[in-house]
């Protein structure tokens, strides 16, 4: 099985503070991998290293076939990224956002045009082609932002709490888009505070105090912790945290 992510004792220190403590894990092609942890457990720092935005203090890792310490620019070209905080330019129209990101990733003009038409049709957004991104309802923005993040057909897409603030139907429709992307072979790495979404992942890891405390399928984790759901598993593990960051 092709590995899209693999890390070896990946560590990040800020002064004496060990934000990410020697984590080791692998993500396979086409997998939905849930990356969970309490606020301050080290998720964001780890994710920044995987995306080529921050250099590890020690240890190593490969993402999409490139080394996270020495080939950061190659990584950026081969991954997609979406976060709740930033994903689209508000003052650009829907099609302009797609063109901008397509351009940044070096796609050809024709390719951008074709893909734009295809995505707008798939999302049922044809009428919103010329709408400013800021005028879209939040649920639509999230769908568009996800489509933008995989516009250049990356090997893997990183989703940082992609579904905050929307109603339960919209949230589920969003996950159906994720499944569709996975069927095309895109690997999904996702963080979330919704524990029911953790169950949609093939495997999840839970970080506590900078370390990956557990990593398995939701089913196995629930069995191991004798828990009814993933929230139970999470509560049992995250309560062990000794780092003061809540």
């Amino acid at each position: 099985m092709e590995k899209v992510i693999s890390t070896n004792k990946l560590t990040k220190k800020f002064g004496n503070f060990i934000a990410v403590d020697s984590i080791e894990f692998e993500v396979e092609k086409g997998e939905i991998f849930g990356f969970l942890g309490a606020n301050g457990a080290g998720k964001t720092t780890a994710m920044r290293m995987l995306c080529g935005l921050s250099r590890p203090t020690s240890g190593s890792g490969m993402v999409a076939g490139f080394d996270i310490a020495s080939q950061q620019e190659d990584i950026k070209k081969n991954i997609g990224y979406m976060s709740q905080k930033f994903a689209l330019y508000d003052d650009l129209k829907v099609w302009e956002n797609l063109r901008l990101f397509g351009g940044i990733y070096g796609m050809k003009k024709k390719e951008i045009e074709d893909k734009t038409a295809q995505i707008l049709q798939e999302l049922g957004f044809e009428k919103e082609r010329n709408t400013l991104a800021k005028l879209l309802p939040l649920g639509w923005k999230q769908k568009l932002a996800f489509s933008v993040s995989i516009f250049h057909e990356p090997k893997i897409v990183f989703l940082d709490e992609p579904t905050g603030g929307v109603d339960p139907v919209t949230r589920r429709r969003f996950w159906e888009l994720i499944y569709r992307a996975v069927q095309r072979g895109i690997t999904v790495f996702v963080t979330t505070h919704y524990m029911d979404e953790a169950e949609y992942c093939n495997r999840v890891s839970i970080m506590v105090d900078g370390k990956i405390e557990v990593l398995d399928t939701p089913k196995n984790l629930k069995a191991a912790f004798n828990a009814a759901n993933m929230d139970d598993v999470f509560q049992q593990l995250a309560r062990k945290a000794t780092r003061i960051n809540n």
């Binding site: 309802p137 339960p168 159906e176 524990m195 939701p218 089913k219 759901n229 999470f234 995250a238 809540n246």
Partner: protein, 295 residues
């Protein structure tokens, strides 16, 4: 006298209706949840009830005071934790708390007992600037600041958004204690799993209240039979069921699918190896069906 009384509140921005005839009441010592997505109108309603925004029509009373005529009285009696971080980033934890106490002509010492449980957890960082705190700590400081003048009504606008499940649970534990002191709490949240922590809730969607009731009553009133399907290949089965005209709705719920049929008899036709198990609905199922019916 009710702690909060809202009668037919309407609010428009231009042609857009933000709030449509909103009415409900909150009792003393009650935790009342306002449940809805971003853009449903929750924040506008909070701003009207905390006298920061005028409604176009309708009326509202907080602790017996009118939100328009008696706004000065209301401001003395309520605590408000807005959605966006409301603290002074360049003041330390302790300075923020002292500041809010002094604005209300009181001292931290006088009402310390009320915030003690919460504040004790952030006290080790009292000399840290508020801007340097983590999300969970900011949330605790903001709640302390909203409580320091001993309000009788507390308005909390999405206090747990973006906060991890452990901190969220802790936060709700704190609210329960405050409720026992007789404080009325109006709290909004997008997390359905927090609904069970409320005494009563209102589902709000696009400016309209869909229902107001106790969570367990909302579940008991669910008008349909609901079935769960377990499978290792949920997405394929979901697509298959979506194509079936006998299926009214199907959505993922954790590791299962929840299915509602158009009519009971049709279930027999939908067997091909899919096992349907009748279950009791969750609050989220109820919200989803109410949303659909209001569309």
């Amino acid at each position: 006298m009710k702690a909060i009384q809202v009668n037919n509140i309407c609010l428009n921005y231009g042609k857009l209706a933000i709030l449509k005839e909103i009415s409900f009441e909150v009792e003393r010592g009650e935790i009342f949840g306002l449940i809805g997505a971003d853009g449903a109108g929750k924040t506008s309603l909070f701003r009207i009830l905390t006298t920061l925004l005028l409604a176009d029509s309708g009326s509202a009373m907080v602790e017996g005071f009118d939100v328009v005529c008696d706004y000065k009285q209301i401001r003395k009696h309520v605590g408000y934790m807005p959605e966006r971080f409301s603290l002074y980033q360049d003041l330390t934890v302790e300075e923020n708390l002292n500041f809010f106490a002094s604005v209300f002509n009181t001292s931290v010492k006088e009402n310390y007992y009320l915030i003690e449980d919460i504040y004790r957890q952030i006290e080790p960082f009292k000399n840290r600037r508020a801007g340097q705190l983590s999300g969970g700590m900011k949330q605790k400081l903001a709640l302390s600041c909203a409580l320091i003048h001993k309000p009788s009504v507390l308005f909390l606008d999405e206090p747990t958004t973006g906060v991890d499940p452990v901190s969220r649970k802790e936060f709700w534990g704190m609210l329960k204690k405050l409720k026992q002191q007789g404080i009325a709490i109006l709290v909004s949240t997008p997390y359905m799993d927090e609904v069970s922590m409320c005494d009563r809730i209102a589902f709000i969607q696009r400016g309209k209240i869909l229902t107001v009731n106790m969570p367990q009553k909302i579940i008991a009133d669910f008008p349909h039979k609901i079935y769960s399907v377990e499978s290792n290949n949920s997405y394929e089965i979901l697509k298959q069921l979506r194509r079936n005209s006998a299926v009214r709705s199907v959505f993922s719920f954790g590791d299962t699918l929840h299915v509602i049929f158009n009519s009971k008899s049709e279930i027999q036709n939908e067997k091909n190896n899919i096992q349907f198990k009748e279950i009791s609905p969750t609050v989220e199922d109820c919200f989803m069906i109410l949303m659909e019916e209001s569309n």
